[in-house]
């Protein structure tokens, strides 16, 4: 059975490979993105050496790493699920002897692997050549970061799955998917690290899962999280992964009872 799920990863990876040319332009655009934020932050720092505990050098690395991590964990599972629901193919898939949601997760992972190898890594190399990014030298930090990155992917995909499943209840969840995308980008810390948020907002963020997607792993990678706190930060990611399973389970259960297919 596990073999079948692994095949879903493999097939998605190969499918993505067929469209790889699109991703080369993506790397350039991500580099421009990182460049724009690099200059934006440099202007924000101005004469100041340190802001919200970040030095300019740390900020540059943070921006680069966060955007490139986004290149890895980003996927359109929400849209795929919503489309399956709208055109009714979800009904066929439910009759098959595998878990629909787990298959989606696997396909997302196949896409993630593709993005890691053909987007994130080459992109990171290019960005490091252009901008003054300082990567950690301790192999341990890299190991921890990779594991945390995996959880970034899991948590982001869970949020996507949850958003996609809402198509069961609102028929057309285009607006919701857009809303989710902006929320994830801002609250996960890609655009502004959580440390910059004003007090009350930072407190709210601590109780939401978004920071586990970008802010926590990027903070560990840039060395802003002291060694003694790393275990706790990683634990928080694991907790969110487990906690998010609950609403997904309930939504999925409620959704299956509600399914009605529109045309098709």
């Amino acid at each position: 059975m596990m073999g079948a799920y692994l095949d879903f990863i493999r097939i998605r990876f190969i499918t993505m490979l067929a469209y790889r040319v699109n991703y080369y332009s993506g790397i350039v655009i991500y580099a421009i993105n990182i460049g724009a934020y690099y200059f934006l932050w440099k202007a924000i720092f101005g004469e100041q050496q340190e802001l919200a505990g970040f030095t300019v050098a740390q900020m540059t690395t943070y921006v680069a790493v966060s955007w490139m991590a986004r290149a890895f964990y980003f996927n359109n599972l929400d849209r795929e699920i919503a489309n399956d629901i709208r055109d009714g193919s979800v009904a066929t898939q439910m009759t098959r002897p595998y878990s629909y949601l787990l298959v989606k997760m696997m396909q997302g992972f196949g896409e993630g692997l593709f993005r890691l190898l053909l987007f994130m890594i080459p992109g990171m190399i290019i960005v490091c050549l252009i901008f003054p990014v300082t990567l950690p030298t301790d192999p341990m930090t890299w190991m921890i970061y990779l594991v945390m990155l995996l959880f970034s992917f899991l948590i982001n995909s869970q949020i996507n799955i949850l958003t996609g499943l809402f198509a069961f209840f609102v028929e057309n969840n285009e607006g919701m998917m857009r809303m989710k995308r902006v929320m994830v980008d801002l609250f996960s810390g890609v655009v502004v690290p959580i440390a910059f948020f004003p007090g009350w907002l930072a407190v709210v963020m601590k109780w939401l899962p978004f920071q586990a997607i970008t802010y926590l792993p990027s903070s560990v990678f840039t060395g802003r999280t002291p060694g003694s706190e790393i275990a706790g930060v990683f634990g928080l990611q694991v907790v969110w992964f487990v906690v998010l399973l609950v609403p997904i389970w309930f939504t999925w259960r409620a959704a299956r009872k509600r399914l009605f297919v529109q045309g098709g």
Binding site: A18, Y19, V21, N22, Y23, S25, G26, I29, Y30, I32, N33, G35, A36, F39, L40, K42, A43, I44, F45, G46, Q48, L51, A52, V170, E171, N172, N173, E174, G175, M176, R178, M179, V182, M183, D185, L186, V191, V192, F196, F197, P198
Partner: protein, 263 residues
């Protein structure tokens, strides 16, 4: 005349479709507001840590943002063709469009018209108005005329770029992932472009002229800065016309090349 009539029919059709998905209609408006609010949050957060951004004050940057929202709302209403490639090329709906006498781009645009986005324009105008007072800027009757001209120019810039991007799908077989990526770049035209290095500034001014939908025309109304952007402001309608013409030419050429999905 035919086009005006078609326009009206499509709008009626739109209203009927939307009334089927009433809940989604409100969520979309809410998500639009959220989206704009998020970008504002970014500006507000940033200015808690610095008094100025490349010589621009908070109220000025927010003013630019308010201006930007006006053309952006109009553009989103009439040009929401984000999934053109997917819907019209991959699924072959373009064939249906081409069998009809009205101009194909006009039909595609009308099928995707999205009036709720106009609310963003209203909010933008309010933001701009408030900042106008806060900055104590002088007000002339001419400003309203210029504002209208700039807004039209900015909408044309957007329209040109996105028409060209959508037209790419006529040339390449694979669904292109480029539109969502360009989508990110458009944000940077809202910030004072003098903070960027020469290359990004050049791209934002002349290649993907997103600076012409935000900071350049808006700077016309603001106090003059060291490297004066407002000199370029009057070029906004020209850049708009040039880019829209280029977009349209690329589109028309693409349609000629189009061979159908064969499904």
């Amino acid at each position: 005349m035919l086009y005006a009539q078609l326009f009206w029919e499509y709008i009626k059709n739109y209203a009927k479709t939307r009334l089927t998905y009433r809940m989604d209609f409100w969520i979309e408006i809410l998500s639009d507001m959220m989206f704009q609010f998020m970008n504002l949050i970014f500006i507000l957060i940033v200015f808690r840590h610095t008094p100025s951004l490349g010589g621009w004050s908070e109220a000025e940057v927010v003013f630019v943002y308010g201006f930007f929202m006006i053309p952006y709302g109009i553009f989103s209403t009439f040009f929401s063709i984000w999934n053109f490639s997917e819907r019209y090329i991959v699924k072959g709906e373009m064939d249906r469009i081409l069998t009809r006498p009205a101009h194909n781009l006009f039909q595609v645009l009308l099928e995707n018209v999205d009036p709720p986005s106009l609310i963003g324009s209203v909010v933008g105008a309010i933001i701009m108005f408030v900042c106008w007072g806060e900055l104590g800027l002088p007000f002339h009757i001419m400003d309203i005329v210029l504002l209208a001209v700039f807004v039209i120019g900015a909408v044309l810039v957007y329209a040109g770029i996105y028409t060209a991007l959508s037209a790419i799908s006529f040339y390449s077989d694979a669904p292109t992932g480029i539109v969502p990526l360009i989508y990110n770049i458009q944000n940077y035209g809202r910030y004072p472009v003098n903070i960027y290095n020469k290359m990004i500034r050049f791209v934002l001014t002349w290649l993907l002229p997103f600076a012409f939908v935000g900071v350049i025309p808006a700077s016309y109304f603001l106090e003059k800065k060291a490297d004066d952007l407002s000199q370029l402001a009057l070029l906004t309608p020209v850049v708009g016309l040039v880019f829209f013409t280029l977009g349209l030419l690329l589109w028309n050429h693409g349609v000629k090349r189009y061979r159908g999905a064969g499904s």
